[in-house]
Structure formats: structure tokens, C-alpha cells
Symmetry: C4
């Protein structure tokens, strides 16, 4: 039991390091060939899909404080696990951002793919976009991984990954697409640069994910887990 918990923590850290490493590196403004919005969106989605397939059965592969908080709000994981996951996700994001920073030429890494408002988007608009997109992705996560559903749900890891791709196909244009406070926090720490709208990338995803959790776990499919049954 205890070993399993330690493994989950380790996997959550490693998965977040890999996630941040790959998605930042694939989103730089490479002079060889500028990645298109579709290409960046696929990189984010396929990385999540791969990590959920690889580590999901150990830690759940949240790699995202908003997702962990949503599971906590839904009474599916304990407060201890939640806090440790979030801490490890933030440390993992800083580590992943640090590694990709150190292996990438300076003129390529530029601002390290920081999230920020794009030209023409104000914080209120960005908040709306982040809330709606994170809500949609987290609804898909709860639904695709609900063991009580008996019909074929297919490849849950792929469904979740492609939901993340979907969100980036629109979100990149408004905010660079966060959905994930750790994804915004890691590069900001390494670059020592927090934009005035950094709070949007915490409030938006956490609020959107929490609403999804309430809708799924209390309104649509209420479940009563005793404290012992929670992870």
C-alpha cells in the first residue's frame, strides 16, 4: 500500500517532467520550420495520451493541479494525496522546463513558450476561454475513465489526449492555451517572468475543472466512496 503510494508520487513527478519537456520543446519558434497550431496541438495531446497510457495505472497521470483538485472536489482522492500531487506537479514542471531550457539554443527557446494573453485578448475573455476548455477536457477525463460504465469506452488515454488537442486548436489563439497551472508555472519560474495575467492560468483551469467534477460526480453520476475506498 505504502510502496504503491510512493510509486504513484514518483510517477506523477516523472510524468510531469516529461510532459513539460516535450510540450515546450515542440512549441518553440524553430527557425528550421515554424510549428503550426495543429502541430503544437497534436504534440500536447499525444504527450498526454502517451503518458496516461504509460503511467495512468500507477498514478492516474494527472500532471495538472487543476485535474488533481477536480478529483479532490469529487471526493475521489484524499487531501494528502492531493497536496503531494500538486507539489510534485509544480516541481516536475520546473524541472522539465529547466531541462529543456538547458538543451535548447537561446535564440530558439526564446520565452520558453510561456502562456500569455495574445494580442487583442483581455483577462476576462481569457478566463472564459480557459474555463470552458478545461471544463470540457475534465468532463471527458471523468467519463472516459469511469469504471462503472459498462459499454465500450475504447482507448481512454487516446480520448483524453485528443480532448487536449481539441482544446489547443482554439486555446492557442487566445492564451497560448494553459488548461494547467503547472504548464504555465514551470517556464515562468525558469524564465523568472510572470505576466500580469498569470493568475488567469490558475483560476481558469481550477475553476473549470472543479465545476466539471461537481457536475459529473454529484449531479450526473453520484457515487458514495467511503474514506477507505478513495485513493
Amino acid at each position: 500500500m505504502c510502496a504503491r503510494f510512493t510509486q504513484a508520487l514518483a510517477c506523477e513527478f516523472v510524468a510531469t517532467v516529461i510532459f513539460i519537456f516535450i510540450v515546450l520543446g515542440s512549441a518553440f519558434k524553430w527557425p528550421l520550420q515554424l510549428p503550426s497550431v495543429l502541430q503544437i496541438s497534436m504534440a500536447f495531446g499525444l504527450t498526454i495520451g502517451t503518458l496516461v497510457q504509460a503511467f495512468g495505472h500507477v498514478s492516474g497521470t494527472h500532471v495538472n493541479p487543476a485535474v488533481t483538485i477536480a478529483y479532490f472536489v469529487g471526493n475521489q482522492i484524499s487531501i494528502v494525496r492531493s497536496v503531494l500531487y500538486v507539489v510534485l506537479q509544480l516541481l516536475g514542471a520546473i524541472t522539465g522546463a529547466g531541462i529543456i531550457y538547458s538543451v535548447t539554443p537561446k535564440d530558439v527557446r526564446h520565452t520558453l513558450a510561456l502562456n500569455d494573453l495574445t494580442y487583442g485578448t483581455n483577462p476576462g475573455e481569457a478566463l472564459v476561454v480557459e474555463i470552458i476548455l478545461t471544463f470540457s477536457v475534465v468532463m471527458c477525463i471523468f467519463s472516459a475513465t469511469d469504471k462503472r460504465r459498462t459499454e465500450s469506452r475504447g482507448n481512454a488515454a487516446l480520448s483524453i489526449g485528443l480532448a487536449v488537442t481539441m482544446a489547443h486548436l482554439i486555446g492557442i489563439y487566445y492564451t497560448g492555451c494553459s488548461l494547467n497551472p503547472a504548464r504555465s508555472f514551470g517556464p515562468a519560474v525558469i524564465m523568472g517572468k510572470f505576466s500580469g495575467a498569470h493568475w488567469v492560468f490558475w483560476l481558469g483551469p481550477i475553476f473549470g475543472a472543479s465545476v466539471a467534477s461537481v457536475v459529473y460526480n454529484y449531479l450526473l453520476y453520484p457515487q458514495k466512496l467511503s474514506i477507505g475506498e478513495r485513493l
Copy 2:
């Protein structure tokens, strides 16, 4: 039972809001980087795939009056459910179009990704294209979700989403690709602009979907549901 029905109606509305919000926003002529036809097609398909995975087990995630009518024609849902779904889909489409309108810079949202005949396509040609494409997508929907099939059908949500992507890869060039009267209606209401060919985006999808329903539910796999067994 009654709660389940209310939940289905709510989910159908919310899913349509999200669908229209995401697909319009990802199809604008963004100055940062013009989305390619492939990118837009992926956005439509992955949004449908994500919403079917997220809400399909509650409402079926039709998000499309043509699909709802096809289920009604196939005697699989009641007239009451059909009418309410269509009303909520249209209201959802207007709401989704309104939200994306309000968070997007004016010079980007342009005509709000309205469906219209492209240069060189006449209404008759557009009708043929919309009928064939909607027929194909709806055949895939009935087949991928048929619980009587015992062989592995895999991830039905993904199959349906990618069928929508397929249709857009050709349809965008002819009509912007509707397949869905609500998708055409929502932005038209918000912009107050109905093109002379707007009827094509009602007749084409509804006719194509209905033919698919007759073929699947009466010719290929007839099933007799009593009124109580229908949804």
C-alpha cells in the same frame, strides 16, 4: 427516470454550446496563423469525439438536429425528446455563437465562420455534397453505437469524431461544411445574416441523415422497439 431525462436535456444544451464555441473559434481567419483545412477539420472532429465521450452516455450527444431527426425516423427516440433536443440544440448553438462572438476581437471573428456556398458552387451542387457527407457520417454513428453488434467496435466516440473530420476535409471546399443545421443557424442568428443558400444547410443534412436512418434501421438491421423501450 424523469431526472435522467432532465439531465439529458441539460447535457444536450451544454454540449451544443461547447461544440459551437470551440469549432467557430478554431475556424476563424486568425492573423497569427491561418488555420489550414486539415486543422479546422481536426477541430470539428475532435470536438465531436470529445463531447460524445463526455456526454454520450447521458444524452447521446447529438448536438445536431439532423442526427436527432434521424434517431426519430429510426423510431429510437420519442417525439417529445426529439422536439426538445432540437429546440435546445438551436438555443445552444445561438448561445455558443454568442459567447465566442463576445470574447473574440472584431477583425478576427469576421463573419463568425458562417456556412455559405464557396465561389463556384451552386445550391444544387452544395445540396448533393451535404447529403452524401451527412449520410456517411450518420451511417457511421448508427453502426459504431449499435449495441447489438458483438464484435469489437473500439472507441465509438473516436470513430464518430473522425467521420466528422473526414466530411470537413472535402466539405469545407464546397460549402464550409455544415452537416448540421444548428452549426449553420447559430452564427447566422448572432450575425443577423442568412445567406440565400441557408436552406441548403437544413435540407441537405436532414435528408441525408434520414436516408441513413432508413437504410440502417429498416433495411440493414431492422429492430422493433416498443414505445417503452425507446429513449
Copy 3:
């Protein structure tokens, strides 16, 4: 039994019409935005994936004489079914090509996406490419649909579709990528234009598919079907 056979024939015809309609239309040199090789490859693959999901349980969705011949070589379908499938595939391809021809502006449809050797490829080289690619796709078809395999094969329709996408990602550069005599034959009939290398698009796919059938059905997984058990 007899009704089922008639349905299979009808589905094979309709599926081939839709296949040719969509893939030709999505591969034209559209002035609005030239489709990339990736976009065209996705259109071919997702169309196959959608049609296999939609019609596969009725007819098998061969939509390709080379695939039908491979099933016959593998002793899995009767001579009568084989001949009728091929005839209907060719008629379907002509019909599909005719419909897309009639709804598309003349300056767009151009040569109707005819297969031909690209600059720098000679017939022998084209033959090698078509044989290897068709062999690979047909090995995937037999393997993904083999009911004797008990491990999870996932979404067979999607695997087959994405194998077709794979083949186009390289094949388009050499020959436009046929893999399928019907896909080459249909537009050639409508345009009344058979290139000197047209035979390559019959010999290559049929030979590659037949070799795959021998390898799979006789060498790797021999099965003895009595005449009554064949389709």
C-alpha cells in the same frame, strides 16, 4: 441468407461510390488552399476508417478489387462473391468519380486526381512502391480483423484507415498512391484518359495484396474453411 448477400453487394457499391467521391474531392488542387500531402493522406485514411466502421459488418467494406482478390486467394470468400464485388467496385468508382466531376468547377477538378507516375519515377519503381505499400496495408487488414485473435485489437476500422493514411504519406510522392485499381480506374474512365502506366495500378496492388494473403492465411495463420464456412 440471400437477402444478406444482396445487402452486402449494395453496401459494397454504395461504399465505393462514397469513397471515390470523398477522396477525389479532397485531393483536388483547390485554389482556396492547396491541400497538403498530410491532409490528402488523412482524407483517404479517415474515409476508409469511416466506411469500414459503417459498412464493414455488412459487406466487409473492401471497396478495392485488390482486397477482394486477396480474400479470394486466402480462400475466405467465394468466386461468385469475388467477381460481383469487383464489378460493383468498378461501377461504384465510375459513379463516384462521375458525381464529384459533375458538382465541381472545371478549373478545380482538373485531371480528377488521376494516378500517374510523378516526375522522376519510372514504371518499375512505381511497381515496387505500390507492391510494398499494398502488402503492408493488407497485412494490417487481415491481422486487425482476424476473429481468432483473442487479445485486444482495439478499433480495427481505425487501424485499417490509418494504415491507408501511412501508405499515402509516401505513395503520393511516387505515384499519387493507388493501392486500389478501382480508385485509379474510376477517374480514368470519366476523364477518358488512361496513362501509359495505368497497368501499374492494377498489377502492383493486386500482386502486393495477394502476397499478403498467402503470407497471412497460409504461412502465418493457416485456416481451413469448408466451402460452407466461407462468405
Copy 4:
């Protein structure tokens, strides 16, 4: 038993020939239309996905010495099988590279899509990238194919293929993305050109894959196979 082993060896060779043939051919700098990084990444991933679906149940479709060594390190295959697989993978890579060389115009095949450090990447940085990416892909391979997992893993072949796509979406920018010594070795032999960093494409993938094997097979999911139970 013996026939099965011979079949596995033959399939491993054929699969590697096809893999190298397709991925090199789809990555050339084609003058008709330069393939994007996304397009090349999809070609690599879909080829792996297709070959795993087609040959995986016979040989496991490693097509990669690093993967074979990872299985050996995890005590899942014998030393004899491991050595023969690696030899056949290298021969297959040379053969595949030779075939694509012989059917492609000289000005297109150029350097035969050799792996090399891109401008601005030094060997140490390249090593870090190759290790992290191969580690991630191989974790996904072990997890997606672990028969002891009872929850739905969906289409394992597709998950593995899309993990390969993910890795290329970032790796191409640093090293052309190897992940696989055979993929680097084959074209180098045919071109008679080994870059000074060629060792990176052996050490990086083999080290990353071996670490993944230790983590999965000893730390996370230890299993004791007797010598007779190994393949």
C-alpha cells in the same frame, strides 16, 4: 514451436524493411511539397502503429534494437532471440534503406534522411533528448501491452504508434529523431556516411529503453518468469 520462432524472425526482418522503406521515403525533401515536421512525425507513428497491428502477434514488432534490448533487460525474451532480432533488424534496415535508395531520384533522396545533430545541438544535448524520448515511448510500450492489466487499454498498436509520433514532434528539431539505432544505421550504411555523432543514436535509445525496462519490470510491476515462460 520452432516454426513459430522462425516466423517471428522472418516477420521482424520484413517489418523492419517496410518500416525503414516507408519512413525514409516519407521524410525526403520532396520538391513537389516539402513534408512538414507534423507530416513526417505522423508517417513514423502510423508506420509503427500499422506494423505492430500487422506483425505484433507474431514477433512483437520491435523493429528496434533498443526495444529488443529493453525486453531482454526485463527478462522477457531469451538471449538467443535478442541477438537474432538485433541482427535481423540491422539487416532489415540496410535492406529497406537500399530499396528506397534504388527507387528514388538522386536529387530527392539527398542524404537519405540520415540522423544527425541539427545546427545548434551538441552531442550531450542530443543524448539527453534521445534518452528522455526513448524512455517515454518504451514505458508506453510496456504499459500498453501488459497482459496483466485488466482495465481497457484500447488499441495498443495505435497508442504505441502515436507515442512515436509524439517523440518525433520534438526530436526532429534536435537530432532528426532516432529512438532506434537501426533507423540511424541503415541509411548510414547505404550512404557510407557515419556522422561524428552516430554513437548518440545507439547509446541514447538503448540507455533510455533499458531504464524504462528496469522501472517497469522491476520497480513498478515486478514479474517472475521462469526461463520456460520467456519468449
